[in-house]
């Protein structure tokens, strides 16, 4: 690899040169497809965020504030469904994964570029169907539990079909990444020299390929129950509503690792760069990604402790749940060991990466309260659960996504963000996030149930606190996104390697040319040799 031109500014707009609708809609370039995914998913992040602000506004007072109970039920369903299916699942995997997997492994594209484009358009098709279901919006919660979802007047069958399509897109993307990782690594890039983001994405893809079809068939059966009157989930016909929950969580639990593993991968790339130290425990981090993926499949029953499931199953699933903590802990300790005595600098990607660790540890450590059979009976379906998964999903995944966006922005757009504004946005977001969600742990512990438009007056003060927090959080996110838009058009031109990174994407111009590399690089070492030799 030649490093001579690593700091030269490239005037060429690289893969962004071609303009026009067709050049994007029919592109086979994994980078463009990644950008399309990022725009789509970030749009739905903002949409879901606006819905969340409306919900928090309703909860400003204990009684009715500005909407009917039914509207509130619709809004929390939409918030959940949009954030889960249209933002957080495809966000990092399909967006950043598409853009960076081939770059990080020194390939010219993914293994099946056409399939990649197809999966984007299937995703868009799914979104259109989901939007069509808004004519009679869902009020079931994003979990679609039967028997209510089989009977409500809302357009459940339409939404199910939409999610089936989105899932199909997710499967095809995962399949593409698995084969890409096996087949298209640059010469010399052995498995133990792979960037850890690739390991995380590989584990993620396995979950997508194995778990997603189960939710696909579940939603098909739900639709069939409504259309043909089949009775798998209907107790009146001898069916079993819990079977729906088993199927649903066989997918939806592993899929929380589809959400978190890529974010872990992103920050694993960022931490050594801004600590100027080799990653600590490379193999432990790599294998813990796989371990999380596999153990994640064994624990779905912990969502069903109070559903009337058998005690035997409850005990087994509760016991197994604690094993997830082991590989997760391995990762956290290795990140901290990497930071230890590093030459740490606090650029915006690093601030978000450190925020990830801090918030994710809080989110992670509140998990065992819910995974333990006894405490879950008390905490189930309270705001404690809401706080727990927002700390892992928003404090974890979304912060990981923000970290990645700030880290890779120069590579994707060829321009730099305004660092001062980025830090300001980070500070406001951090304060806003904790103000919004930390009180929810307390509210939940005191027994405030989730998914109600109204609550007892004794919870009022904490809810006002959380609602004000949601406004602070919104301000932070708006500033951040304004910075993205500004940076895209007017940011300072970026050099090929502004952060002095060693992974392969930094060895090609910013933005990268359509074919990624002039010459496919030959890899001779792992990408984490920071601080040992001058870069």
């Amino acid at each position: 690899m030649s490093h001579t031109d690593a700091h030269a500014i490239n005037e060429d707009r690289g893969y962004l040169t071609e303009r026009g609708f067709r050049s994007w809609a029919c592109t086979l370039d994994h980078k463009r497809i990644g950008v399309l995914y990022l725009f789509t998913t970030l749009f739905f992040f903002l949409a879901g965020g606006v819905i969340a602000l409306l919900m928090r506004l309703e909860l400003l007072t204990p009684g009715p504030t500005l909407m009917s109970d039914h509207t509130y039920n619709v809004l929390f369903t939409l918030h959940g469904a949009i954030m889960i299916f249209l933002f957080i699942i495809p966000g990092i995997p399909s967006g950043m994964g598409n853009f960076f997997i081939p770059l990080l492994i020194g390939a010219r594209d993914v293994a099946f570029p056409r399939l990649n484009l197809l999966s984007y358009w299937i995703f868009i098709g799914g979104i259109v169907v989901i939007l069509a279901s808004l004519v009679s919006p869902m009020d079931t919660g994003w979990t679609f539990y039967t028997p209510y979802s089989a009977r409500t007047g809302a357009a459940v069958a339409t939404l199910s079909l939409g999610i089936f399509l989105v899932g199909m897109s997710s499967i095809l993307t995962g399949l593409n990444f698995i084969v890409t990782t096996h087949r298209l690594r640059a010469p010399g890039l052995t498995w133990h020299r792979l960037p850890l983001f690739i390991w995380a994405m590989y584990a993620t893809s396995i979950i997508q390929v194995i778990a997603t079809p189960v939710v696909g068939i579940t939603f098909l059966l739900l639709a069939a129950e409504r259309i043909f009157g089949i009775g798998f989930f209907d107790p009146a016909k001898g069916g079993d509503p819990l079977l729906f929950q088993h199927f649903f969580w066989f997918y939806s639990h592993p899929v929380v690792y589809v959400m978190i593993l890529p974010a872990m991968g992103v920050i694993t790339e960022i931490i050594p760069v801004f600590s100027r130290k080799p990653i600590f425990g490379y193999r432990a981090i790599a294998y813990s990604s796989l371990a999380i993926a596999f153990i994640g499949f064994l624990v779905w029953g912990h969502h069903m402790f109070v559903s009337g499931m058998s005690h035997v199953a409850g005990v087994i699933f509760s016991f197994l749940t604690f094993f997830v903590a082991v590989p997760t802990g391995v990762k956290v300790f290795n990140w901290i060991a990497t930071l230890y005595r590093g030459s740490i600098t606090f650029e915006s990607p690093m601030l978000y990466a450190l925020t990830f660790i801090f918030l994710f540890v809080i989110g992670g450590l509140t998990g065992p309260f819910l995974g333990a059979l006894a405490t879950d009976v008390h905490l189930h379906d309270t705001y404690f659960v809401v706080a727990h998964f927002h700390y892992t999903m928003m404090g974890g995944t979304v912060m990981g996504l923000f970290a990645g966006l700030h880290y890779w922005f120069p590579k994707m757009t060829g321009r730099m963000l305004n660092e001062t504004v980025a830090k300001l946005a980070w500070a406001i977001t951090f304060v806003g996030f904790n103000t919004t969600f930390f009180v929810m742990f307390i509210l939940g512990y005191h027994g405030m149930p989730r998914r109600y438009a109204e609550y007892l007056p004794k919870y009022h003060a904490d809810n006002v606190f959380a609602t004000v927090g949601s406004w602070i959080l919104a301000v932070g996110v708006v500033i951040m996104f304004a910075n993205f838009v500004w940076g895209m058009f007017w940011g300072e031109k970026a050099s090929a390697n502004p952060w002095r990174g060693l992974t392969l994407e930094w060895q090609t111009p910013s933005p990268p040319p359509t074919e990624n590399f002039d010459e496919i690089p030959t890899v001779t070492d792992w990408p984490y040799g920071y601080g040992k030799k001058a870069v």
């Binding site: 096996h182 194995i210 189960v214 079993d240 819990l242 079977l243 088993h246 199927f247 066989f250 499949f297 064994l298 779905w300 029953g301 069903m304 009337g308 499931m309 058998s310 005690h311 035997v312 199953a313 087994i316």
Partner: protein, 87 residues
Amino acid sequence: MTAQRTYIAVWLALLVLTGITWGVSYLDLGLWNVVVALAIASLKASLVALYFMHLRSEGRLVWAFALFPLGFLALIIFGTLSDTLFR
């Protein structure tokens, strides 16, 4: 021509096995009916996978891809049974 001959032999074997399942289903073996039926089905499936799908001549990676989902199939069945059988 040897490949074609193998295929035809496999096809004949599949037909014979289909006949056997058919015949066995008229005997009342209690629980063993299911076991025998599934065993024969698995034998047939293995023949299709090994010869028609050429798994026999594939490398370790393809074998891994082929066998991998079966573990998860067992997982979803037995995981769900751990609830429904003991409820």
